[in-house]
């Protein structure tokens, strides 16, 4: 199969593409652009950060996004524009950001540096996530030498840089007309449908196909599991899958919406949900990883599902046989098993907007605040009327084989006064809801203890206590 993309404004066409080869390996070992580094080959260190540019739906505007080239499959480049660290200097003259970093001690060993350059460059040109603070933009970039200060200072010191994307958009529009619909390499097949109908048809014909959205999970099957994936259906080009529709009742998100794109809408639903999204992966992961993928892979420690379940989200699946809509919690059947029938795909998610008086509380607990996976993620949605809890939806990740509701705890709260005694009885009921396991992210004891404490945290917050160390300032003032 072949792939065409735009590199520094020039169209590059590559043939004989192995669909599970990565963009990083192509850059390093075929194109010999070795500025982009492999630090981990699993999307966790950001040394391979590049910028991908694509037209928005409607093709009137375009957007750059930072991504981890180490776990993106080469066909995902098709029809897109690519910038690497080598793209920035013009005639040997460093870009102002690069010059600032060079003068500012932003590099020591230099191995992570190209990744930081690309993340920060994205921020200067208005790429996805550009409105985030610098520390959030580079949360997916690890540096082991500098302690980050000179990198953050460089990022803060550089304002917007101008970039004329008109030629890129023209070229992208031209390429869109001849986009690759898929191809074959040895025993591997890659499909890139453009319409929901084509997608449904492909999945009906290939029920065993692996659906690829952002590849932030499946990429590791290849780079770490060394697996061969035979049939892949890439949904990134399917019309409508990236739609976000907000109204008074709630938000509808296409399954292909990357987390980064949903961040603002989630924040508007509730600030806790926005904060949760901020802490899902690094920006590169949120730029690739999708809402649908985070749900469809069924991880018991996926960050989105507990919060979405507590908020009462509904999931819609689609196939040639039609649509099914279900409460999100019903989708998760057991560890590694979801209620997705052969030929079905996750089409969209609807999240109702919480009522202003609802008490919403979402907490993610992990060893590290940024770019980590939950030990426990707890989400609470309580409706209190006249001092009584009339409705409670409580869901946890990390406490069971699937993200799921704490039904015993909910039952212990509903109908009771919103009072410390009720919270105390809720924590007792909660202990009966789950038998968490001990694993690398936490012991069963810790999980059970903090799950209960998160209910207390909700209570203390309702009493006006500060509840997060993240909000504190030092006594230096």
């Amino acid at each position: 199969m072949s792939v065409r993309f735009l590199l520094d404004g020039e169209i590059v066409e590559i043939t004989d593409v192995d669909p599970t080869s990565t963009i990083l390996n192509y850059l390093r070992y075929r194109l010999r652009r070795t500025g982009t580094k492999e630090g981990c080959a699993e999307g966790d260190c950001g040394a391979c950060t590049v910028l991908l540019g694509e037209l928005d739906e409607g093709a009137e505007t375009m957007r750059w996004r930072s991504v981890n080239a180490c776990i993106l499959f080469l066909p995902m480049l098709d029809g897109k524009a690519l910038l690497t660290v080598e793209s920035l200097a013009v005639d040997g003259k460093l870009n102002p950001l690069q010059a600032c970093m060079a003068e500012n001690g932003s590099s020591q060993c230099g191995f992570c540096t190209p990744g930081f350059v690309m993340s920060l460059y994205g921020r200067t040109i208005g790429a996805s996530g550009h409105d985030l603070p610098v520390a959030d933009v580079v949360a997916g970039n690890l540096c082991r030498c500098t302690g980050y200060g000179p990198i953050l200072a460089a990022g803060d010191g550089i304002g917007k840089l101008s970039r004329d994307d008109q030629p890129t958009m023209v070229a992208l529009r031209e390429m869109a007309e001849t986009a690759c619909a898929g191809g074959v390499f040895e025993d591997r097949r890659w499909f890139a449908p453009r319409t929901p109908e084509a997608l449904a048809g492909l999945l009906a014909a290939h029920p065993d196909a692996r659906i690829i959205a952002g590849a932030t999970d499946v990429g590791l099957w290849v780079t770490k599991g060394l697996k061969t994936i035979e049939t892949m259906v890439f949904i990134g080009n399917v019309a409508g899958m990236k739609a976000i529709v907000e109204d008074e009742a709630g938000v509808t998100l296409g399954a292909g919406v990357p987390y980064a794109d949903a961040h603002a809408a989630f924040s508007r639903l509730h600030p806790d949900l926005g904060e949760l999204v901020r802490r899902i992966g690094g920006l590169q992961v949120r730029n690739a990883g999708t809402i649908g993928g985070n749900i469809a892979n069924g991880s018991p420690i996926g960050d989105g599902p507990p919060a979405l379940i507590a908020l009462g989200a509904e999931l819609t699946l689609c196939s040639t046989a039609g649509r099914r809509t279900m409460p999100l919690e019903n989708f998760f059947l057991d560890y590694g098993r979801q209620d997705r029938q052969p030929g079905e795909y996750v089409e969209s998610l609807w999240i109702p907007r919480p009522a202003p008086q609802d008490i919403i509380h979402i907490s993610k607990l992990s060893r590290r605040f940024d770019s980590d996976i939950s030990a426990v993620c707890g989400a609470f949605a309580l409706t209190v009327e006249n001092g009584l809890i009339v409705r409670a939806r409580i869901a946890f990740g990390g406490m069971a084989a699937t993200p799921c509701r704490a039904s015993g705890c909910e039952a212990a709260l509903v109908g009771k006064p919103f009072a410390a005694e009720t919270i105390a009885s809720g924590t007792i009921a909660l202990a009966g809801d789950f038998s968490p396991i001990t694993d690398v992210r936490g012991t069963a004891t810790y999980r059970a203890e903090v799950a209960a404490n998160l209910l207390w945290r909700l209570w203390y917050r309702a009493q006006g206590e500060d509840i997060s160390v993240l909000a504190l300032e030092s006594s230096h003032g």
């Binding site: 699993e42 980050y148 404490n453 945290r457 997060s468």
Partner: protein
């Protein structure tokens, strides 16, 4: 010695950026993996042990050999010479020979046409093991008296009697976790066969000479047949001091046996499983003290998990003992150091080399004493500092350069310690869930390899006839800015801009028999060696000028605007050209050996260190007692760099070391399962700090008084000492937990790292 001429320092601006900064930011800095691959290059992967301790009954490698892309599979039987990649004890096998000692140990070497093919094939082996009893933890190894060397004892006076006589006595203990280096560039080597059996190795290593020697012995070659080269590493931190040899030797073996260039680029997860880490420790103490908190007697046991082989563990554990005193006078003391052999990966050098664990132990004891007496921990620390009449270390070295009291006083004042401690007390009184604390801890770090013969270095300086200068030395560049510091030293000698000095890759064929770039010694040793080489050339030029222009040598001066000889003035380039025409040698080697150090390991007495580097740090943290989450809110540092060779580079070292130390004590947790398998073998599960973990308030002041000892330009080493500044974070977290019961006179049972789970456990333990 190399005194800095202030006039010359004008020529080379001290705060030059890192020599490769512009290459780093443009992606043009070349690392081992960045060169073009020859079309016949082969790629390597290890088959790894799945057992912690076992005899290998049988290795069925038929499926490996038959796998697509596989060119060859080698086992220990294929090694022509010594099957050894160890630094000292000759006990690290390149490929397992009958027995495996830890999970991940290399069993066989797959040689294939691609990295992926090699890795895939390596998983196809069918290995029959006869498992043997494995001890995995410090406790298990202690129970079965499993040691890599005899337990060491460092003592002075009569600790037992002093403990009995002391007014107060407290005993306690805690665990200190290990740490993965997490250099961003993983282990990698390329070996290229040369003519007549020679081999050239590009390796990401801190110790090219050691790899040269090991590869020569492994292939039955002479050292002269093996050349090892490294231009730069993508981070190392001690993890490429001995650990790079395994990969380089594997590449050399495959190149030797196949006659083709080979590359071993280790996958991140494999790297984390296969390579050694910082030692984890169990600390137990019994301390006696008076009403003011003066420590009178201390019995301390340091037990560390060394892993399956010796590696550098003896020296690392020695350094832990050397740093138990930190900045404190401990009159009657007994330190017992157990070096435990376990069936886990052999632990190795990591920035600080045991020192941080020793210092953390005594800081914990200071906190313990303060808690017992209900006194401010800083006051207890200050009352125990070395001072006149109480300035001899437990190993009998006089602390001649003690500036800790002044550094602490300055930090206390500038960091507003007392004022903030009061405001934090008020905050805690009004906050049920979030508790804050501050802590100020000092650092005194001994500079020199404690293995005395390692304290030597060589350099090679060429002046070309156009006036450009090329330097080479035995030190390696891992990001620490060694190359630019040495380049500045050389530029200073000739009073030329540093841009006129070309820094070249470290190679064993240019400077032989080098020590590892380790122990923070890089600039001290190589800077002085390069200075000496440059001075040799300058002396020749001075004599040439005096003769040419008929003036006295004292009338020759090298200055930023040119070289003066009597009444003549000429550019350095002109001088170089004339000297070449005048048949003056413009190339010289330089050599340096640290003077004045001597240490008797059998008694643990002597002067192992040339001097000490000092510092102090003040951290403010907040802890959430419901979840165990914490945040470092502010850090203030005063750190001693002597008369800095390059303040910008030094500041970078201090900040980077602090954050690395903070990670060690907070988010970075190594976990093994009951079979000895590392569970945290990727950045998905092993969490080094991210940008947001850096406290928003982070202020570093340099203490720039000149070194008492005549080091290069009276500077001080800076690589390792600031790592232990982060001990204040651990102290502060403990103190914040203690704020839940201010009336208690004890410490929360906190272990390092202070993960949310460990903090919550300490909260629970403190309440009970």
């Amino acid at each position: 010695m190399a005194e800095c001429d202030p006039a010359l320092r004008i020529a080379a601006k001290p705060s030059n950026a890192h020599d490769s900064a512009r290459l780093h930011v443009s992606g043009a800095a070349g690392y081992v993996d960045d060169g073009a691959e020859p079309i016949d290059m082969l790629h390597l992967a290890f088959g790894q042990s799945e057992e912690a301790h076992a005899r290998i009954a049988h290795m069925d490698l038929s499926a490996v050999r038959a796998a697509q892309g596989v060119v060859a599979v080698f086992t220990a039987a294929d090694i022509p010479g010594a099957n050894d990649v160890s630094p000292v004890a000759k006990d690290d096998r390149l490929l397992a020979d009958g027995e495996v000692m830890c999970v991940g140990q290399a069993l066989f070497l797959v040689v294939a046409t691609s990295q992926r093919a090699a890795r895939q094939a390596a998983r196809l082996a069918r290995i029959s093991y006869e498992p043997r009893a494995a001890c995995l933890t410090i406790a298990e190894a202690r129970a079965s008296s499993s040691f890599i060397e005899p337990t060491q004892r460092m003592a002075r006076g009569d600790a037992r009697a002093a403990l009995s006589a002391a007014a107060h006595r407290v005993s306690g203990g805690f665990d200190i976790g290990g740490q993965d280096h997490f250099y961003l560039e993983g282990q990698i080597a390329i070996a290229t066969p040369g003519e007549d059996g020679q081999v050239h190795i590009l390796s990401s290593t801190q110790h090219p000479s050691e790899i040269q020697h090991l590869v020569a012995a492994m292939l039955n070659l002479s050292s002269a047949d093996v050349t090892v080269e490294v231009r730069r590493m993508g981070g190392a931190f001690g993890g490429k001091e001995t650990q790079a040899a395994l990969f380089a030797a594997a590449a050399a073996l495959a190149a030797h046996l196949t006659g083709r260039p080979t590359k071993f680029r280790c996958d991140r997860d494999d790297d984390m499983i296969i390579t050694g880490k910082r030692h984890d420790f169990r600390i137990d103490y019994d301390v006696g003290f008076d009403d003011q908190g003066h420590i009178l007697g201390l019995q301390l046991r340091l037990a560390s998990r060394c892993g399956a082989t010796v590696d550098l563990s003896p020296a690392i554990n020695d350094r832990a003992m050397f740093h138990v005193d930190n900045c404190y006078w401990l009159p009657d003391i007994e330190i017992v150091s157990e070096r435990l052999k376990t069936h886990t990966v052999s632990n190795t050098a990591f920035r600080g080399f045991g020192g941080p664990q020793g210092m953390l132990a005594i800081e914990r004891i200071m906190d313990e004493v303060a808690a017992f007496l209900g006194r401010d921990p800083l006051d207890v620390r200050i009352s125990n500092l070395y001072g006149p009449g109480r300035n001899v270390t437990p190993y009998d070295m006089v602390v001649a350069d003690n500036i800790a009291p002044e550094i602490i006083a300055r930090l206390r004042r500038e960091g507003r310690y007392d004022e903030r401690a009061a405001s934090i007390e008020a905050f805690n009184a009004g906050s049920a869930i979030l508790k804050k604390a501050i802590a100020l801890t000092p650092v005194k770090f001994g500079i020199s390899f404690t293995t005395t013969h390692l304290n030597q270095a060589g350099a090679l300086v060429h002046v070309y006839a156009d006036g450009s200068i090329q330097i080479n030395h035995g030190g390696t560049e891992m990001g620490q800015g060694l190359y630019i510091k040495v380049a500045q030293v050389v530029a200073d000698v000739f009073a030329v801009p540093v841009s006129q000095v070309r820094i070249t890759a470290t190679r064993t064929d240019k400077v032989p028999n080098t020590s590892a770039t380790a122990a923070s010694s890089g600039a001290d040793l190589n800077g002085m060696a390069a200075h000496n080489a440059a001075m040799t050339i300058r002396d020749r030029l001075t004599a040439f000028l005096a003769q040419t222009f008929a003036c006295a040598e004292s009338e020759v001066a090298f200055a930023a605007d040119g070289v003066v000889a009597g009444k003549e003035k000429l550019s350095f380039a002109d001088l170089a050209r004339r000297a070449h025409m005048g048949r003056i040698s413009l190339s010289a080697t330089g050599y340096y050996a640290t003077p004045g150090i001597a240490y008797d390991r059998s008694t643990h007495k002597g002067r192992p260190f040339y001097y000490f580097a000092y510092g102090a740090a003040l951290a403010e943290v907040a802890v959430d007692i419901l979840t165990g989450e914490h945040r470092v809110l502010a850090v203030d540092i005063v750190h001693d760099v002597g008369r800095s060779l390059n303040p910008a580079i030094d500041l970078g070292q201090i900040e980077g070391a602090f954050i690395q130390g903070q990670g060690w004590l907070t988010t970075e947790e190594l976990m093994f399962d009951a079979k000895g398998r590392l569970l945290t073998h990727s950045p998905a599960t092993y969490k080094i700090p991210t940008a947001s973990d850096r406290p928003r308030h982070f202020r570093i002041s340099l203490w720039q008084d000149e070194n008492l000892e005549p080091t290069i330009h009276r500077s001080k080493a800076v690589g390792e000492p600031p790592f232990s500044l982060a001990n204040c974070v651990f102290s502060a977290i403990g103190r914040a937990i203690a704020a839940i019961s201010p009336e208690k006179r004890s410490l929360p049972p906190l272990n390092a790292p202070a993960t949310p789970e460990n903090i919550l456990r300490a909260v629970r333990g403190y309440r009970d």
